[in-house]
């Protein structure tokens, strides 16, 4: 009876449970696995496991461990402290340097399953907590601030006693970037970071590791904003910028200074028309007929006389050797500037030094001069430019030749020529010539000097004065002596060689002027020197013709006194304004030679003021004297009246 009841109950129970068993498949638990064991301070440790399937049944887990050297199996003392599925070993249960053999068992009603055993040694599973109290501070160090990071070891790790030795590592990155910069700090608890960007915000983290374990987690991020500071690199850049700006300015300045030459290099000047008779203005006006008609020269084809004019080139630099005496003759052509230098040969060597020497052309010029003399004489004082230029040039070829001869000798640049002192002093005439070797062809008009007509009272010496003051105005001076004519009269003057030297700093621009015609004429003491046209402000020195007759020998001294050879200017009516000058000594030519500076008194011819010239011999003489005189005497003097002033 009882048995039946029991069986019935059992059956009932079985029936009751069977559907459950069928509905959910029950199975023994799955195999758990020990995932990890960690010790934060080498004194305690925790193991975690991962449960397997529970098989549908409540499963319990148990951890068993066994220490090395013993076979006793112990169960985990604490399942709860460390959370779910964990086992916590406290200090009393933790042994160091000892192998633990740990196993987890999952148990449910249907069975139990063992996990794989794991051997651990606590020493090797140490993973400390992150460092604590991480502080980041900016340390000011003049212009180079840096960061100082400091921290403390995790409070659980006993580093003080040396139980555990930790090494630290920190990392830093700029806000917004992805790359961290790692720094190993060793066992120290502070660290300095340099070379950071000013004004940036940085993130700093620290972690630690025992010498035989795992790295801890990174500490929480510390933020620090780096201050703005004036980096020295910036100052270097500023310095570089200033320096380059400075150099740039210097280059600009150099460029500016050399603009002219650069312009010539890059944009050479267009040469202007050099057609004789060509008028630019007419062309600009647009009237071509007039322009071309102007080109028609009346004397084309050139006659013999005009030949020489055609041969005239605007600029001619003539260097008059000291031995030569050049005579300047008139320049016919107004437009052409030429310098006629008449070389007067003086046979008389008295008073002549090395300065004075004959030129070859003296003879040649002599002939031409003879003709000219008389006509020139009359005309000369009043001659205007045109008249002057119309002087004829029988001697032209000679003069030209002379000029040509002379010109090569001329040094480039300005040449100072001055009209030789003609009349009374042969020497006088010579010296300047000697001195002045260079003739400069005046660009514009040259004064041609003509031999003094014998007896002509006036001799004019055209001398430019103060050219320098006036600037390089070109003047032609032509002094011509006409010895043949004047011979009778100026015999007292031995050969006076008219030396025409143009004071004018006539710089030849490479254009050669056919020599206007130099007539070398024997200087006669009293000879008129025809004054060629002078530019304004040109000074023409006129030497009054001495009453020569008796002046053969004393004439030289007559030079003392006033000299009207200086022309103050030319008026529009082609009137010469003469100036008086006092020339002291004419005798000495020698001093002229050496003189480069003043002392000029000695040389008559040096009445010319040479300014920019290289002193060519005795070119400059008497300048101071003359100057004074020139200044003193002013006014318009009619050449005609000059003759009436024999006493001068």
């Amino acid at each position: 009876m009882m048995k039946k009841v029991v069986a019935a109950v059992l059956l009932f129970l079985l029936l009751f449970f069977t559907p459950h068993a069928k509905a959910t498949r029950y199975s023994p638990p799955g195999k758990p696995t020990l995932t990890r064991c960690r010790s934060p301070e080498k004194e305690t440790f925790t193991c975690w496991w991962e449960p397997g399937s529970d098989g549908g049944l409540p499963t319990t887990y148990a951890l068993y461990y066994r220490k090395e050297n013993s076979d006793a199996v112990y169960e985990c003392p604490d399942y709860h402290t460390a959370g779910e599925n964990s086992c916590f070993f406290n200090k009393n249960d933790t042994s160091i340097w000892v192998n633990y053999n740990i196993t987890v068992v999952a148990t449910n009603t249907l069975g139990s399953t063992f996990s794989d055993p794991v051997d651990i040694d606590v020493v090797y599973i140490v993973k400390p907590n992150p460092p604590e109290k991480v502080t980041v501070a900016v340390m000011e160090d003049k212009d180079w601030p840096f960061l100082r990071v400091s921290w403390e070891s995790p409070h659980k790790a006993d580093t003080r006693s040396g139980w555990i030795t930790l090494i630290y590592e920190l990392r830093i990155k700029l806000e917004g970037e992805d790359e961290w910069e790692m720094h190993l700090a060793g066992q120290q608890k502070t660290f300095n970071i340099f070379s950071l960007r000013s004004g940036g915000t940085y993130h700093v983290q620290v972690r630690c590791k025992p010498d035989h374990g795992f790295w801890s987690e990174w500490s929480s991020t510390s933020y620090i904003k780096f201050p703005d500071y004036f980096h020295r690199e910036k100052s270097m850049w500023i310095l570089i910028t200033v320096f380059s700006a400075f150099i740039f300015l210097i280059l600009i300045w150099l460029l500016h200074m050399n603009t002219h030459s650069l312009k010539h290099c890059i944009l050479p000047p267009v040469p202007g028309p050099k057609i004789k008779g060509f008028d630019k203005q007419l062309l600009k006006n647009g009237k071509s007929e007039e322009v071309f008609s102007a080109l028609v020269v009346s004397d084309f084809p050139p006659t013999t006389s005009s030949n020489y004019e055609d041969l005239l080139v605007e600029y001619l630099e003539v260097y008059v050797p000291e031995e030569q005496e050049l005579m300047l003759e008139e320049n016919k052509d107004l437009h052409d500037s030429f310098l006629k230098s008449e070389v007067s040969t003086s046979d008389n060597d008295s008073g002549r030094g090395s300065c004075d020497s004959h030129t070859l052309l003296i003879d040649k010029c002599g002939e031409a001069k003879e003709e000219e003399r008389q006509t020139d004489q009359e005309e000369s004082p009043t001659e205007t430019e045109t008249q002057r230029h119309q002087k004829d040039w029988d001697e032209d070829p000679l003069t030209y030749a002379h000029e040509d001869m002379v010109s090569p000798d001329m040094s480039s640049g300005r040449v100072k020529t001055w009209p030789s002192v003609f009349s009374p002093l042969p020497q006088y005439s010579l010296s300047p010539l000697d001195q002045t070797r260079s003739l400069v062809m005046a660009k514009q008009h040259c004064l041609s000097d003509i031999l003094f007509p014998p007896g002509s009272s006036s001799s004019y010496l055209t001398q430019p004065s103060t050219k320098e003051a006036l600037g390089p105005s070109y003047r032609d001076f032509c002094l011509s002596n006409k010895p043949p004519h004047s011979l009778p009269v100026p015999q007292m003057q031995a050969r006076k060689q008219l030396q025409s030297h143009s004071d004018v700093n006539i710089s030849s621009i490479g254009r050669k002027q056919a020599p206007v015609g130099q007539q070398s004429s024997a200087l006669q003491p009293t000879e008129y020197v025809e004054v060629q046209r002078v530019n304004e402000e040109d000074m023409v020195l006129l030497q009054p013709v001495m009453s020569d007759h008796g002046c053969v020998e004393g004439c030289p001294q007559t030079h003392q006194g006033e000299n009207y050879s200086k022309v103050k200017g030319v008026t529009s009516d082609n009137m010469l304004l003469l100036q008086r000058e006092v020339i002291e000594e004419e005798m000495d030519r020698f001093p002229c030679e050496d003189l480069e500076t003043s002392g000029a008194e000695r040389c008559y011819t040096s009445s010319i003021i040479t300014t920019t010239q290289k002193p060519t011999g005795c070119n400059h003489t008497a300048t101071p004297v003359l100057g004074e005189m020139a200044l003193a005497a002013s006014g318009y003097v009619d050449t005609a009246t000059m003759s009436a002033l024999p006493t001068y």
Binding site: E68, K91, W97, V118, D119, V123, I125, K209
Partner: protein, 231 residues
């Protein structure tokens, strides 16, 4: 990173070992028994520091040697787990504290003696290891140098500890007691694999024991300075 640091320090230590040898000379004041003060040795604190440095270096170099050996000669399956200490070590029989709490309970004297025991028990095996490693065909020179260095350093460490014992404990020398206990058995030449495994075990065990030495000495140092807060 850690390996690099350890290697660097090991190399550094290798380079400096003559200095350490010279430094260790004045420590030998054994012969003058009653006249410790006559020894021109360093102070106790400095000596302890030096000993600790020795121990640290030894540990690092032994760790590097172990890694080298493992990489060269041990196949993967047989390698120790990262968490695992080693196989049965020769020094397991030594009565050494094995937890911090235990260490806190033992005295300075016993701590020092423990260190000495360890050091003395490892001198011979390391010499043996040196000879066996020479027999390897392709043992890298670095490994050989490191093991050689370690064995030399161990001897000087022993000397230092002896002097420390004398100074700190005012004891006589009890130097050669432990090493003669025959912890190490010289067996017939085993097979290759066994030989390799034995060497591997040697190295790993030594590494662990070196760490023990270092830890003991550091704790000892802490006790010297601050008795109440130390372990």
């Amino acid at each position: 990173m850690h390996m690099m640091t350890v290697k660097q320090r090991g190399v550094w230590a290798v380079l400096l070992w003559p200095c350490l040898l010279t430094m260790s000379v004045p420590l030998d004041c054994k012969e003058e028994q009653g006249s410790l003060s006559r020894c021109l040795s360093i102070s106790q604190e400095k000596l302890l520091d030096r000993v600790i440095q020795h121990a640290e270096l030894i540990y690092r170099v032994s760790e590097e040697s172990c890694t080298l050996f493992e990489e060269m000669f041990i196949p993967f399956p047989l390698r120790l787990q990262r968490n695992q200490a080693s196989y049965t070590c020769i020094t397991k029989a030594l009565p050494l504290p094995s937890s911090k709490s235990e260490i806190q309970q033992i005295s300075d004297k016993w701590l020092l003696h423990s260190v000495l025991m360890l050091v003395q028990s490892w001198i011979e095996p390391l010499v043996y290891l040196q000879t066996t490693l020479d027999r390897y065909d392709d043992a890298p020179d670095l490994l050989l140098n490191k093991t050689k260095w370690v064995s030399d350093k161990l001897i000087s460490l022993e000397q230092g500890v002896v002097v420390l014992i004398k100074k700190m404990l005012d004891e006589g020398a009890l130097t050669t007691t432990y090493s003669e206990q025959g912890l190490f058995q010289y067996d017939v030449q085993p097979e290759m694999l066994e030989s390799v495994m034995r060497d591997y075990t040697l190295l790993t065990c030594f590494k662990k024991d070196a760490h023990k030495m270092e830890t003991f000495l550091k704790l000892l140092k802490c006790r010297q300075t601050d008795k109440y807060n130390c372990a």
